[in-house]
Amino acid sequence: MVSPLGGNVDTSWKNILEGKSGASKVSNFQVDDLACQIACQIPRDPSVAGHYSPDDWMEPKEQRKVDEFIVYAVAAADQALSDSGFKAETYEQQIRAGVLIGSGIGGLQGIEEAAHTLADKGPRRISPFFIPGRLINLAGGYVSIRHGLKGPNHAVVTACSTGSHAIGDASRLIAFGDADVMVAGGTESPVCRLSLAGFAACKALSTSYNDTPEKASRPYDADRDGFVMGEGAGVVVLEEYEHAKARGAKIYAEVIGYGLSGDAFHITAPSPEGDGAFRCMSAALARAGISPADVDYINAHGTSTMADTIELGAVERLVGDAAGKIAMSSTKSCIGHLLGAAGAVEAIFSVLAIRDGIAPPTINLDTPSVETKIDLVPHKAKKMNIDVALSNSFGFGGTNASLVFRKVAD
């Protein structure tokens, strides 16, 4: 994982459990004329413990050819594969191992720069690496080339649901027998002038906290006013259960449910009754063969927008009387909204919540905008036994995905 709170999963998770915020004023490009001048950016300062250094993962001459979302994905996939201990060494292993990494937008920054080159210098100055360095599926392409993964090679583009869809679809490729191992996740490098301007025009971004960025991402809070954009990548190694057991792999959790739905309502707004969210969570639980009361922890989509209450309403409707025993938090309060990477990093946080028996906090939740029996885990992480965790992602276009993870008995 590469996140605004660290260049690896351990640092990111530790910082989240401590309730840190990854948000700050953007200083690497001009923001004074933008409505939103803040973002959750990856720590690159070498003096910061657990910082991210792109040169650790890709040679500088290769980095020049691609947008950063590809470098983040390569870094996250290298980390995940190394942690899993899986290596595709024989041809048989290679053809049974695939990649499914998505991105919400892909190389927006490179497209912005190339458009300027085209206008200023003409078509003969467009680099031959412009196209292959911006295509969304090239994140997975690079990962497959690097690790010799010759199985299914696929990519998802479903806005802010991308990471969840990627992990869900990859788990189905394994369940259907198309692969034994899938390297899956999402990646996004959206922090540039064009996207800050574009998302602000959609009225999706926080604009009142430019001077106090660490307070800006505040899901469920009465004073929230939009999301804070984040960057990074989350990648997991999914493996067929018996295949993992046979090689003695460290199994973090099992993917037991995956649900998908569409709102068919509006291009950016969720359906007001949370119908799409409700159906997608229901489908995931039905696939898992468990009841809503079996869920211990929910990692919410919770973007710090008006949509938070719609998701909360859908969850309340889903869990009914079990609301009092469920904890639901939004780690976006700490790392912001990683768009196409959000579902993947949040799936990882959900799995770590199971492993460590702790629900990460929703920071900045000072005054909840609605009353609920569900514990929104304000400010401080909460120790609790978590056997089952559900992770939600909802995207522009009315595209919804829910994943359900369960602790694996030793």
Binding site: P60, K61, R124, R125, S127, P128, F129
Partner: protein, 78 residues
């Protein structure tokens, strides 16, 4: 070594990320310096930019080594 050769060499080192001593006159971009076909397209673009010349596609196809590039540019760069 001419000024043009120095500038060509510098571009090749930067773009292909190779050690200076490998960038000899006879070094082939693809066979000796690890370039692929897209790298060579980008190299030609970098030469055009540096020397303010246009290198037509049929000429670009004949530029296979560092020496080829130097020779072409010595002849065509103003």
């Amino acid at each position: 070594m001419s000024d043009i050769a120095d500038r060509v060499k510098k571009i090749v080192i930067e773009h292909l990320g190779v050690d200076a001593e490998k960038v000899t006159d006879n070094a082939s971009f693809i066979d000796d310096l690890g370039a692929d076909s897209l790298d060579t397209v980008e190299l030609v673009m970098a030469f055009e930019e540096e020397f303010g010349v246009e290198i037509p596609d049929d000429a670009a196809e004949t530029i296979l080594t560092v020496g080829d590039a130097v020779k072409f540019l010595e002849k065509n760069a103003g």
